[in-house]
Amino acid sequence: MTRINDFAFKIATPNGTGSSSANGLLMQAIFRMGVPVTGKNVFPSNIQGLPTWYEIRVSKDGYTARTQQFDLMLALNAQTYQKDVAEVRTNGWLLYDSTWPLEGSVARADVTYLGVPLSEMVNGAFKGVRERILMKNIAYVGALAALLEIDTDVIRTLLKEKFGRKPALMDSNQKAVDLGYEYAKTHLGAPLPIHLAPLDLTKDAILIDGNTSSGLGCVYAGATVGAWYPITPSTSLMEGFKGFCDKFRKTEDGKKKFAILQAEDELAAIGMVIGASWAGARAFTPTSGPGISLMGEFVGLAYYAEIPAVIFDVQRTGPSTGMPTRTQQGDLMLCAYASHGDTRHICLYPSDPREAFEFAVTAFDLAERFQTPVFVLSDLDIGMNDWMVPKLEWDDSYRPDRGKVLSAAELEQAKQFYRYLDVDGDGIPYRTLPGVHPKGAFFTRGSGHNKLGGYTEDDVEYADVMERISRKTQNAAQAVPAPFVRKGSKATTLGLLTVGGCHGACMEALDLLAKDGIALDYMRVRGFPFGDEVKKFLDAHETVFVVEQNRDGQLRSLLTLETGVPPAKLSSVRYWGGFPMSAQHVIAGVKAKIEVAA
């Protein structure tokens, strides 16, 4: 039975054979046809040879979560052939390179095999190893165009846009597409029952990954100093920032209105960020779990000495090195309470590349307003995969919230300046920057200090400052982005609460559960410390399913610690093996508990 604009296929290739451009081409083509699409790149922690997969989901309903149902598999990697065959859904299709006979493995009866002599075709048509390898990928794009009815004009246009200046390259790419297309048309009885049909659902959207959008957010926020040490999956955030700065932040004579410091490690990177913020710049560092672990001491300094800092934690599968090219939400607890002693940090939790853009800006405003480190926790799935999101908008009237920074004029007026006095009763003291005014001078230290900024070893003076900082952080609870909330299809005592990248899976699951008559109210927290709404939501429901991607239920832990609700009512739903969460994970988790209950 045919399914239009609602199916998923997966492409299995060895790493480093250049399939990514082919997959990008597919994504864009479908997107340009106005059909909602998402891609998940499942790649290894190596540079060449190990297996890699690219998953493309087409969904007229606009679902972006990963699916576990693959209608069509392009099994182009001998290493994983068996595994890949097994993954095709019953009555699905499998495309393979028929240049060589099918592997001895018993063929699946419930799967239709589609042989395309990819190697043979390209070897005939192209010279040179490199070109043949690359064109083989483009050839399968052609075959898929036929099988899935991808608009070939769109593909042609895309190739023009990409290779406009390199006609030779364009021709060979077009040739490869045509080869694949013709073969599929004539030999495989294309199209398949699952295929595309033009829609008009993407014109206000873009395809973008969260690292790129966060890098762009830093540019729009007016960040001028970025310090980093490369680490997967955060690397492309700084590369994005650099790219946009080269475009937007250079004077006619090529001088830079930004500074990017490639530090020797993460301890230095966060140190540079704190130094730059202390001097008055908006500064940030992108990293991942291992980097956060190394930044602990410095984060404590920034917390206690009250210096802004923006840290992007693009989470990967931990602890330790773990699986660097797989996703997880394993740093929720660490970031909330990083460093020794009593600390508590503002955290932001984007759920997709659009929020990754917006929250980058929010992060700088909060960091400077509250004079404290702010963590933006995304993950590999949000950061490195191409998501379809509504176009980004920018309000030109936006001006940065630099917080309470005294100007030279204000200092000139002031009788005397004390760094850590709670003048306004909001727990936020006034700051000064170096080089502005003699009266602004003060001594920053991570050692004991009193509200005047003087060194102290006195318990009352010490506690006084620490209590104020605690109040200050609590006040941030109402300043972080409010939770996203959606009422259930009908009144219910059940709630579903999640964070970050699980959003797509939860939204899809809620729809499907509703079809089964199971209604849940939904909340997605977007910032920490949690605002009152969160406790209210938990209080308002008998059972709240807490959906997250880590082993120990870290979001559930944060909710327990911060809202004081009885933990018993928080029912944990987790998947944390490294793939993005799917609606099926959520549904299974919820149903299991409900059945038990029933």
Binding site: I206, Y220, K256, K257, M272, G275, G280, D396, P438, G440
Partner: protein, 351 residues
Amino acid sequence: MTYIAKPKVHAPTLTKNEIGLTRRDYEGTVSTLCAGCGHDSITAAIIQAFWELSIPPYKVAKLSGIGCSSKTPTYFLREAHGFNSVHGRMPALMSGANAANGDITYIGVSGDGDSLSIGFGQFGHAIRRNVNALYVLENNGVYGLTKGQFSAAADKGSTSKKGEANTMEPIDGCLMALTLGATFVARSFSGDKAQLVPILKAGLAHKGLAFVDVISPCVTFNDHEGSTKSYAYTREHNVEIVHADFVPPAEEITADYASGTLQNVMMHDGSWVRLRKFAQEYDATNRDTAYAYIRARQREGEVLTGLLYISPDSQDMHTQMGTVETPLVQLPYESLCPGNAELQKLQAKFR
């Protein structure tokens, strides 16, 4: 207990510098170091150097790590922003602050534990970046604040207060700096203000990282027999090869030395460093002969002091990065944000 601010008695007799400030205006709070600590002498020299150069204190940022040495920034330049940070990580803070605002004068104060033990990596990489700053390493061969353990600068065979001998090669900050391509390398002795002050001044005028290793005896834990960082030892074995003499842009140079013993190096701001030489063959602008000479004297158990190396064509971090003249912190937001129109244009790329 909050710090005790020194009574600011302005005796009219106190001489004023070009911007009308007295030495007092360059002081900080009362030192809480041990009486006789070498670090206090260095503080005095720093005060003198800034005063003589007439640098407005509030245009200075003074940063340090953790240690007795790292406490000293509280004791000078009351009106400068100070940052007593975490152990061994001052160089990163200084690099970041400098990237944000290259218009103020940076002085980083560190100890041998702070820079050569826990901070060894950051020390090396700050030199590599050639951050425009004066980097003073107050070197006593021990961890003073934690009561006298050997630091990485403790000399082989030198004995601790508890009587143990150090078995490892010391790390020599100056040799390390030269090997890392430092553009300004000097060594002095806390007790030798006449030599130290001009070196500090030259370091402040240098565009790039000016590394100054100052032997600074720890009277409490490392000023005994058998310590090569003791007052006695340093006084005896201190060999001065090059005496730096700093001349601000204004004045012109009076060549009142026998030629051949005099070498003039022009600084980026047009000022001059005049190097009076005691060792004829020594060329303070040659990195390799400098290295070789330090090693040679070391083999004789001598501590070579003076301005050991200076690169006239130093390219500091900002020059290398190609940042705009205006300090980044002073760029108006409007000149940093591309605005919505650009954003919409840009997004064509993402379809």
